[in-house]
């Protein structure tokens, strides 16, 4: 469990959080809860410019992630993310399964077997994960994909490190990125089939990516709340 420490690596609000395996597990759990709660909305968004399954896909995938992490809790942050990524690849299918799976697996692999990581390190390995997503899917910022919410989230996480509220700031940046996909013309994924008709709708994958950063912030907040120090 995250706990206040003097050698705190992450300043969240006025308190510090340890980014250990347990924290990462909590992050994934918060994401599972979030996509379960938001599944209908994500599917609805996908129904407008895709094939109406993104919410179901995310729910199925992160439920599997949660179950796997409960079954045999891995002992390092890297192992948590690798297991989560593998589960997503094995259970989601669609475009989002390999992409989110790659994001987390690559991030996890980059972490090696460190027991704890700093937000800078997390920002760095997530950056590597996002780069892998871009490479795998051939998309770039502005194409109206999950990248439009992932990139600003990661950037904020890297930037804001010593500012406090680092996770909340990243969550906000990612959400803004998601909202900014509304006027975009889709160039990748199913939405690209619609041409001009893709304009005016928020991208489902960008929306779930914003949830990933919100869940990260929640996992951190959870610590504060649990410790009663916020």
């Amino acid at each position: 469990m995250g706990r206040p420490r003097t050698d705190a690596r992450a300043a969240v609000g006025a308190v510090s959080v340890v980014l250990d395996a347990e924290f990462c597990r909590r992050w994934m759990e918060a994401m599972a809860t979030a996509v379960d709660r938001e599944a209908d909305r994500l599917t609805e968004l996908d129904s407008a410019i895709g094939d109406a399954d993104h919410g179901v896909n995310m729910r199925r995938g992160f439920a599997a992630v949660k179950a796997a992490l409960e079954d045999e809790p891995p002992r390092t942050p890297g192992a948590v993310l690798i297991l989560a990524g593998r589960q997503l690849i094995s259970t989601v299918g669609g475009a989002s399964g390999p992409l989110y799976g790659t994001l987390l697996r690559r991030a996890g692999k980059s972490l090696g077997d460190a027991a704890e990581v700093t937000p800078e390190q997390l920002a760095e390995v997530l950056g590597a994960g996002v780069a892998a997503v871009a490479q795998l899917g051939g998309a770039k910022a502005g194409d109206k994909t999950m990248l439009d919410a992932l990139e600003p989230g990661v950037a904020a996480l890297g930037d804001a490190t010593r500012e406090g509220e680092v996770f909340a700031v990243a969550a906000r940046a990612s959400l803004e990125g998601a909202v900014a996909t509304v006027p975009m013309l889709a160039r990748k994924g199913r939405a690209s089939y619609l041409g001009q008709r893709s304009v005016g709708h928020q991208d489902p994958g960008a929306s779930s990516s914003a949830l990933l950063f919100a869940a990260l912030a929640e996992a951190a907040e959870g610590t504060e709340a649990a410790e009663g120090t916020a």
Binding site: T43, S47, A48, I49, G50, D51, A52, D53, G55, V56, N57, R60, I89, S90, T91, V92, G93, G94, A95, S96, G97, P98, L99, L136, G137, L185, R187, K188, G189, R190, S192, Y193, L194, G195, R197
Partner: protein
């Protein structure tokens, strides 16, 4: 919908398929459908798969002369790499496996991952991408043309080549050739209802139709006031011919999207044949039916595949699957 709960739709269907088709081995838990006699010694194996909801594609095309195995994903969701690796391992006789992949981001990514993993296990894998839908322009600004009706031609013809004993590179190159000379265009007269969503996937008021629709409940690129069968045939065939420009005879698939009655589909075929006649395109083979569907969507698609002697011979070769059977 005639279902229990949306979560079990695919598993329920696989149990029902297993009961009805003892000639298939159906692994319900792992979602792999394999012809019972696989692996067939010395022959290249064909594995395909994709989201469910397009039945009989792909599981209905498993059997002698066509696919060796199929991997059904969740409804409208690509299967996962685990399924494809398992299927490849079950059907590989050592002669290698061809993955037939419809060009959707999800299918491409998952099959690519599976190919890597299968190769790690010592299975030789080749891949053909099917991208025949002219409603989507094949540019840097899209995910590329979608794979639709041409899948049937690719799977039938490459399956026949494998059955004849052609080596992997040859089966792969024939599959690529079939895809290269095939184009499709589809229209929807109603949206489809996915089990998970429970309502129509897009909003299509009665009296309107979607031109250039996909097979996943994606809306098309243009909406119009209802057209006659004649007008739709003109539009669809011309859209295909604009891209294909066949030099010789074609094979035609007039495909129902699911809820269009066969009565209407045959009538539509009459109009498709009329346009082709008017455009001076000779037709060597015609297949009419619900083969590449989109759940309960009403509508139809036209696929033309430019034929030559070899492709016709392979098309006519015997096939014994739940949904396609002929020859002896």
């Amino acid at each position: 919908m005639l279902i229990n709960v949306s979560e079990t739709v695919v598993a329920d269907a696989l149990r029902g398929l297993a009961a009805a088709h003892p000639e298939l081995t159906v692994d319900v838990e792992n979602r792999v459908v394999v012809r019972r006699d696989a692996p067939v010694a010395g022959k290249v194996a064909l594995v395909s798969g994709g989201g469910s909801g397009h039945e009989p594609l792909h599981a209905g095309f498993v059997g002698p002369g066509m696919l060796s195995a199929a991997c059904p994903g969740e409804v409208f969701t690509s299967p996962v790499p685990d399924q494809m690796v398992r299927a490849a391992a079950a059907v590989d006789s050592g002669a290698g496996v061809l993955f037939v992949v419809k060009n959707y981001t999800g299918d491409v990514l998952n099959f690519d991952m599976a190919a890597e993993l299968a190769e790690d296990e010592g299975i030789q894998v080749a891949r053909v991408l099917v991208d025949d839908d002219v409603a989507v322009s094949d540019s840097l600004y899209t995910a590329g043309r979608r794979g639709t009706g041409a899948t049937l031609f690719v799977e039938k013809i490459a399956g026949a080549a494998a059955d004849e004993g052609a080596p992997l590179e040859r089966v792969e190159s024939i599959a690529r050739r079939v895809n290269a000379v095939s184009r499709s265009f589809g229209v929807a007269l109603s949206a489809c209802t996915t089990p998970a969503k429970g309502g129509p996937t897009f909003d299509l008021p009665p009296g309107e139709l979607e031109l250039g629709v996909g097979i996943h409940g994606e809306p098309g690129r243009e909406r119009r006031a209802m057209m006659t069968s004649r007008e739709i045939a003109d539009f669809a065939v011309d859209a295909v011919l604009e891209d294909l420009r066949p030099q010789g005879p074609v094979m035609a698939l007039v495909n129902g999207m699911g809820a269009t009655p066969l009565l209407e589909l045959y009538g539509f075929n009459a109009e498709v044949q009329r346009v082709l006649g008017e455009r001076g395109v000779p037709v060597a083979r015609i297949l009419v039916g619900n083969y590449v569907t989109s759940l309960d969507m009403a509508g139809a698609s036209v696929t033309l595949c430019e034929a030559d002697e070899e492709l016709l011979r392979l098309w006519d070769a015997p096939v014994q699957t739940p949904a396609l059977r002929w020859g002896r």
